[in-house]
Symmetry: C2
């Protein structure tokens, strides 16, 4: 999927919402446990309920992997069920030496047909490049995350006085372009998003941490939006677990729509 | 498995060899493709042929994941087949926010029964700690790798004049101990191994990059060995793909034994 296609979808739906499919067998509504594949059944109903307001779906791979071969099958089915015009993110945070990253790329881009994958930068160029070689596919590189541990290494000051994540942003732009490389940018503080935006003006950011993890959507838009929106804002728990009754899909839709309406206002204001 | 148990095995076998199970359907001997599960059949024969000279097996998870649900099953069967007194490493390089890392820990330590997993440090404490909470299990944290991209960020100089990987070594020792935390340390240069050893005197190192990836076993022992050996040296391709004929297991054994004999000499010399 091209950058232009992502932007078109954002305009059509007046939304930059990514729905995180962190589907946990212990958290889904009881009545679904009777289904042949409860995880897929849950995802299917969430997708049906939100596909007109979401521009991206992001299955968190750990949730599927923790169920072994069965989880892997639920993931495959989920991915096949997502409408082809909606952007898909494998939130896998992979990264290994070249020939191993190439295998992960094959797994997520060929065996499955994800549009993008989140990648960790620590092992450098040959851990990232194999993912960039796939035409029409995207790397979403960890730059600045919003979890507690992000303060341990990401913000460490380098000898040139700049934090480490600046170097990740700068160096990685010699590997990929705004047409095949996005960044994960945490949403806890607006000024941090502005800082990343100044270093990567054209790139799309995948922003977790709005909603349950704190972080204001208004700040994200104010400090992070560029001419093509440049934002995919994720919400997982706030949407998919808003209601644990048989009405879960309806409630999920309401929550997604609330975010979409707020996003519409922000798009109208800033674009 | 405890540190003492690992050391006892090293002494008993006079070996610190880890065999990497980077099992690729495109590289295994043709005649195995007739088997119901060629990947498992290959691993089974490699394990049978090397179990008395190897102290650890390290399946590279990407190779299994790239085959989807079927690969996942081959991995399960392989892990169950490895004798319980041999240390097992899930070479997965995971690392995510706390609740997601907890799920990966569940996948590799509970759903499967790996003794250890390789973890990437970029997201900091809450991405690593969930793995450390499992009694008797190990984190093997990426410190200094030997691939080309290791020069991009790992060796970047911080404001205190020390390279970034020093900070990873130092900070992570406030999270784990030599009894549940090892480090991945690349083997391309002996003096680098000495540098890491000075910062982590008691910890075990998992050393890839001996053999096919270059790096001398003698240097690794000279600069990296501690009182409990403190080394698990991995060889993958040099052993498992030494021979593509029907004799592959026999040749793999010969190659593994060659390394073990060299290791015995080094253990006799340095311990």
């Amino acid at each position: 999927m091209t950058r232009q296609e992502i932007f078109q979808q954002i305009q059509q739906k007046a939304s930059f919402l990514c729905v995180g499919l962190d589907t946990d067998i212990q958290k889904i509504p009881q009545h679904l446990l009777k289904a042949a594949d409860p995880i897929f059944e849950f995802n299917k109903q969430i997708i049906d309920a939100t596909a007109d307001v979401a521009v991206a779906y992001k299955p968190n791979i750990a949730f599927y992997e923790s169920l072994g071969a069965k989880g892997w099958e639920s993931l495959h089915k989920t991915l096949e069920y997502i409408p082809k015009n909606i952007f898909t993110v494998a939130d896998a945070k992979r990264g290994d030496i070249g020939n191993t990253s190439a295998l992960y790329a094959r797994a997520f881009f060929d065996t499955m047909d994800f549009n993008s994958i989140t990648v960790a930068p620590y092992m450098g160029v040959d851990s990232v490049s194999p993912f960039l070689e796939f035409e029409g596919k995207w790397v979403i590189l960890l730059a600045l995350t919003s979890n507690q541990g992000s303060q341990d290494f990401q913000t460490l000051t380098a000898s040139d006085g700049r934090p480490y994540f600046h170097h990740v942003l700068e160096k990685s732009q010699t590997w990929g372009t705004p047409d095949n490389l996005m960044y994960v940018v945490g949403a806890t503080r607006g000024e941090k998003i502005a800082e990343v935006r100044s270093l990567a003006p054209e790139h799309f950011f995948l922003v977790p941490g709005v909603g349950a993890q704190g972080g204001s959507l208004e700040d994200v838009a104010k400090f992070g939006m560029n001419e093509q929106c440049g934002l995919l804002v994720n919400s997982s728990r706030g949407i998919i677990y808003a209601d644990s009754s048989e009405n879960f899909a309806k409630t999920a839709r309401m929550e997604a729509q609330k975010l979409q309406e707020e996003m519409k206002k922000l798009l109208d204001h800033y674009l």
